[in-house]
């Protein structure tokens, strides 16, 4: 294991080139005796902060070596379903990291921020086009916050109409956890709608559930089951007829971008995970961004700020002055602008044709991989259905026969040099792997993945213990960690170095 930074520490070691060497007379003293103001003394820390003291060279080494212990898109195939782990173009990072963007204070006047505002304005416009929505606010900082914005707008809409009884949000049982969590956070009661054997929403269940208490329905299409909800128009009609609105969870937009627009399917609000569809990096857990788009009805409620353009082509921030019914502010300033610039750059590189190709080839890759795995004897969750940009296989059979789980398969894939697909989500399908290859992977890579799966299945038959103990030999410097004990982690939480 790479030692902890704390273990590399030695008292009084310093990187003095990062000492700001204040020019103000005797900074230490001044800090305690402001200009004519009462003394700072009572507010001062008594002991030094117990941080590690490490030389810059050791810091560089430590983090370089740590980075090498990660699987990532830049090093490995990463078929993590629902997460769209595709190539993050380096140019998008380079252009976003320019000093002119990085050193700009958020409260700089708009007249001195026209360059960045132009990008954001055009991004809003492009996202409207892409989703078939009327207006977009870029401020949500991730998909889940986009959901929050959408659901809060639905709430605001009903309230603005005086329709106060709509306290229920309908959510398919297969939905991502953020959907019910968000609904709850907005004060709604969650009502689950069942999925049928074909992966479609059960229309009878939906019909039974809708009514005057229905605020709306949260849906992603293609669904988290990797199939396209074919009766979406009918679903939309049912919900709308009952007075509810439709929220589109945009996490799966990669499947349909440039081909099918959520607006055309009847959705009233949508978020876009730019760290998925628009290829901004996931950064080991973020930052992402979750711009939210709406149709005409929800427009007045969009979160502020947004970017507007006046008759002279000058850009400015739109706030509650222009949007008095807004659900309000969702981030301190304007959201994750650095991420949005990367998304903007990506969209300018792809254009309309490019976005449509994204959907086409993501779909081709998923269907191809599904077909190859099915041919190799794996059980797909919905054999009668086309895959979208992702698909599910279930290892129920393998589990029963050889006592190996989806998790065992996942861990063993790491030994083969592949990141694992999403496991145990959606919860409906037992022992499931949700596999999303994305459009940026080559056929050769998919073929290698199939070979690995087949080899692991062979192992499961002949030496199931080998799987149960996987991973064994993850290819990282120094040799990888073997399977980690989650239970102990949760039972005896060790969440930081003791001081």
């Amino acid at each position: 294991m790479e030692p902890l930074l704390f273990d590399l520490s030695r008292a009084h070691r310093q990187n003095s080139h990062h000492d700001p060497a204040s020019w103000a007379e005797d900074a230490g003293a001044v800090s305690q005796e402001g200009a004519g103001t009462p003394p700072l003394q009572p507010f001062l820390r008594q002991q030094a902060v117990p941080l590690p003291e490490v030389s810059e060279l050791e810091v560089v080494r430590h983090f370089t070596r740590l980075s090498q212990r990660n699987f990532s898109v830049d090093t490995h195939f990463y078929p993590l379903g629902s997460c769209t782990m595709k190539y993050n173009p380096r140019i998008c990072n380079t252009v976003a990291m320019q000093a002119g963007f990085l050193h700009r204070h958020p409260l700089t006047s708009t007249s001195q921020s026209q360059g960045v505002l132009a990008c954001l304005y055009e991004l809003q416009e492009m996202l409207c086009t892409l989703t078939g929505m009327t207006a977009v606010s870029l401020t949500p900082m991730a998909g889940a916050q986009g959901e929050f914005a959408g659901v809060a707008m639905i709430r605001a809409y009903h309230q603005a109409r005086g329709d106060r009884q709509r306290t229920e949000m309908l959510i398919p049982d297969a939905a991502h956890g953020t959907n019910p969590a968000t609904a709850a956070l907005c004060g709604f009661t969650v009502r689950e709608i069942a999925t049928d054997a074909q992966g479609d929403l059960t229309l009878t269940a939906l019909q039974a559930a809708v009514g005057p208490r229905t605020a709306g329905l949260m849906l992603t299409n293609p669904s988290t089951l990797g199939v396209f909800e074919r009766r979406i128009t009918e679903i939309a009609r049912i919900v709308h007829d009952a007075g509810g609105l439709l929220y589109y969870d945009g996490a799966n937009l990669n499947a349909i971008a440039g081909r099918i627009r959520p607006g055309d399917m009847g959705f009233d609000a949508i978020h876009i995970n730019v760290h998925k569809t628009l290829a901004t990096p996931h950064g080991g857990g973020g930052p992402g961004a979750g711009p939210v788009g709406v149709g005409e009805r929800l427009r007045p409620f969009l979160p502020i700020p947004m970017v507007g353009r006046d008759g002279h082509g000058t850009y400015h921030w739109l706030t509650t002055t222009e949007f008095p019914q807004s659900i309000g502010r969702l981030s301190t300033f304007h959201g994750n602008i650095g991420v949005l610039l990367r998304a903007y750059a990506y969209l300018r590189l792809t254009g309309a044709q490019g976005m449509r190709r994204v959907a086409d080839y993501a779909t081709l890759n998923a269907n191809y991989l599904m077909a190859r795995l099915a041919q190799a004897g794996f059980q797909t969750a919905f054999p009668a259905r086309r895959a979208t940009h992702e698909f599910i296989i279930t290892l129920k059979g393998e589990a029963q026969q050889w006592g190996v789980t989806a998790l065992d398969f996942a861990k063993r894939l790491l030994d083969y040099g592949f990141y694992a697909p999403t496991v145990y989500f959606p919860m409906l399908v037992p022992e499931c792997l949700l596999i999303e290859p994305t459009e940026t992977e080559s056929r050769e890579t998919l073929d290698r993945f199939v070979e690995a799966m087949v080899a692991i299945r062979q192992e499961a038959m002949q030496d199931p213990q080998r799987l149960r103990e996987a991973p064994h030999a993850i290819p990282v410097p120094g040799g990888g960690t073997s399977r980690l004990d989650d239970t102990q982690a949760a039972r005896k939480p060790d969440l930081r170095m003791p001081l």
């Binding site: 930074l5 990187n15 990062h18 000492d19 700001p20 007379e25 005797d26 800090s31 009462p38 820390r45 941080l51 590690p52 810059e56 810091v59 990660n70 699987f71 898109v73 990463y78 993590l80 140019i91 252009v95 050193h103 700009r104 204070h105 700089t108 921020s113 026209q114 360059g115 990008c119 991730a142 956890g177 953020t178 969590a181 440039g258 099918i260 950064g283 080991g284 973020g286 930052p287 981030s331 301190t332 300033f333 304007h334 602008i337 650095g338 300018r348 590189l349 309309a352 080839y361 081709l364 191809y368 077909a371 259905r385 086309r386 694992a420 080559s442 056929r443 960690t481 969440l495 170095m497």
Partner: protein, 454 residues
């Protein structure tokens, strides 16, 4: 095709495996009326070369300003190693570390981040980040409400908290029947005084929020206020600037028992201004409230061989397990920013952090001296402050700011749009990055502009 590796023959062979004639067939389940016929009305694709030029022009379109603006985002020195390392592909292009064994890099960084932040805040545990300071405050309030089911669903929120934070809190709590009580500030000191709080003496509340320093840069009476809240059965949420803690008392040591929850924005710890984001929110709490903490948490455990390793843990709090009953809906957080902050803290160390905080403050003191020497310019409040000052200015502040910008200076923030009663006032900040010449230049320019006004 940009970013798509398929050759024409790949496509043919793959379609053959699928037994279909064309790509269109794969979309056959989509009702035809839903399929967009033509190309979308997006701008035509640019080559990378053309994009690079466009973005170079956009980045250079507005002149850089000499920054004296703070108000929640601060220009600090960021060691070059921070972003050279944080943007390494293995950090940059990885997902949330679900498969722990293949994500030890990110996980160990998170554990180190949690350890260092806990040390800085004086808190027992820290999560692996939230979106930003404002949403972190919102989450802290929700957490306090959950942690105090015996209390009224009420929180006391001083108006000395950043106005944008208060707006975000309002947006976040709207549907939840939580009463947010605005606590007015003392007009002399610019701080929150127990006398004003005493109105809520008898009413139950789940938490009192205390910002340190507050939006005006003023230091609050943290000890008194913390003890006040605890005495009345409420939690104390400390909202802090993490860099200030190089010098100021950590929330864990406020009052007799310390703050219960500490949160804030991590931007000062190595995150560039970036026009407002991405930054990151941090949150820590006492051990007792761990199970109410939102967001991801990394933990140390052992592997089959007994070797130490790291995993995401305490996941039962989270949306992907607990769904509608989760502590928060957060999923993607601001992971890479915590990598940067960990690097920043590691490179500065305790001494560097203290010296940086001291320099920030000393420079602001020096700036205060210079500007207060200009006739008519005075400090608005007379209390200890940290690295940010509110000034009364004998002029129209919006016009002044425009003229400063024309001279290449980002001259702070007008308070009037945020506090109607504070006409003709300005919030200014000088970090360690401002040189003596910068401060002299600012004061000179300000004096000249004010003289011209009269």
């Amino acid at each position: 095709m940009p970013f798509i590796p398929h050759t024409a023959s790949d496509v043919q062979e793959m379609l053959a495996v699928l037994g279909v004639e064309s790509l269109e067939t794969l979309f056959e389940e989509v009702p035809t009326e839903l399929t967009w016929a033509g190309p979308l009305d997006l701008p035509p694709p640019l080559s990378e070369m053309a994009l690079a030029r466009l973005m170079r022009e956009r980045a250079a379109q507005d002149a850089p300003l000499l920054c004296f603006t703070g108000a929640g985002a601060y220009e600090h020195h960021i060691p070059a190693a921070v972003w050279e390392l944080a943007t390494r592909g293995e950090f940059y292009s990885a997902y949330t570390p679900y498969q722990a064994e293949a994500s030890q890099g990110t996980l160990q960084v998170l554990y180190e981040y949690q350890s260092m932040m806990a040390a800085l805040l004086g808190m027992d545990v820290v999560n692996a980040s939230l979106y930003d300071g404002a949403t972190a405050l919102g989450e802290a309030i929700l957490m306090a409400i959950r942690a105090k089911p015996e209390c009224a669903r009420r929180v006391l929120l001083p108006t000395t908290v950043h106005p944008h934070y208060r707006q975000v809190v309002e947006s976040m709590l709207r549907g939840l029947e939580i009463e947010v009580v605005s606590v007015p500030y003392c007009t002399e000191g610019g701080h929150t005084v127990p006398e004003v709080l005493s109105q809520w003496e008898s009413r139950s509340f789940a938490a009192l929020v205390i910002p340190q320093p507050n939006f005006f840069g003023i230091l609050e009476e943290i000890h008194t206020l913390t003890d006040w809240a605890h005495a009345r059965g409420g939690l104390l949420i400390g909202l802090v600037n993490p860099l200030s803690l190089g010098m100021l008392q950590p929330p864990g040591q406020w009052g007799r028992q310390g703050a219960d929850i500490a949160c804030g924005d991590g931007q000062p710890l190595g995150i560039p201004l970036s026009s407002g984001g991405p930054y990151f929110g941090f949150m820590g709490c006492k051990q007792a409230y761990l199970r109410q903490l939102p967001g991801r948490i990394a933990g140390r455990t052992i592997d089959k061989k007994g070797e130490p390793g790291f995993v995401l843990t305490m996941q039962a709090r989270e949306q992907h397990i607990r769904r509608a009953k989760a502590t928060s809906n957060i999923c993607t957080n601001q992971g890479l920013m915590t990598v940067a902050a960990t690097l920043y803290l590691a490179l500065l160390g305790p001494q560097g952090l203290r010296r940086t905080a001291e320099a920030c403050h000393a420079h602001t003191v020096a700036l205060a001296e210079r500007v207060c020497a200009i006739p008519g310019v005075t400090l608005l409040f007379h209390r200890p402050y940290f690295h940010e000052i509110a000034l009364r200015i004998p002029a129209s502040v919006p016009r002044l700011l425009t003229r400063l910008e024309q001279q290449g200076i980002g001259g702070g923030v007008a308070l009037a749009p945020l506090y109607a009663e504070l006409e003709d006032t300005l919030l200014l900040c000088a970090t360690e990055a401002r040189t003596r010449e910068d401060c002299d230049h600012f004061a000179r320019t300000l004096a000249t502009l004010l003289a011209e006004e009269h």
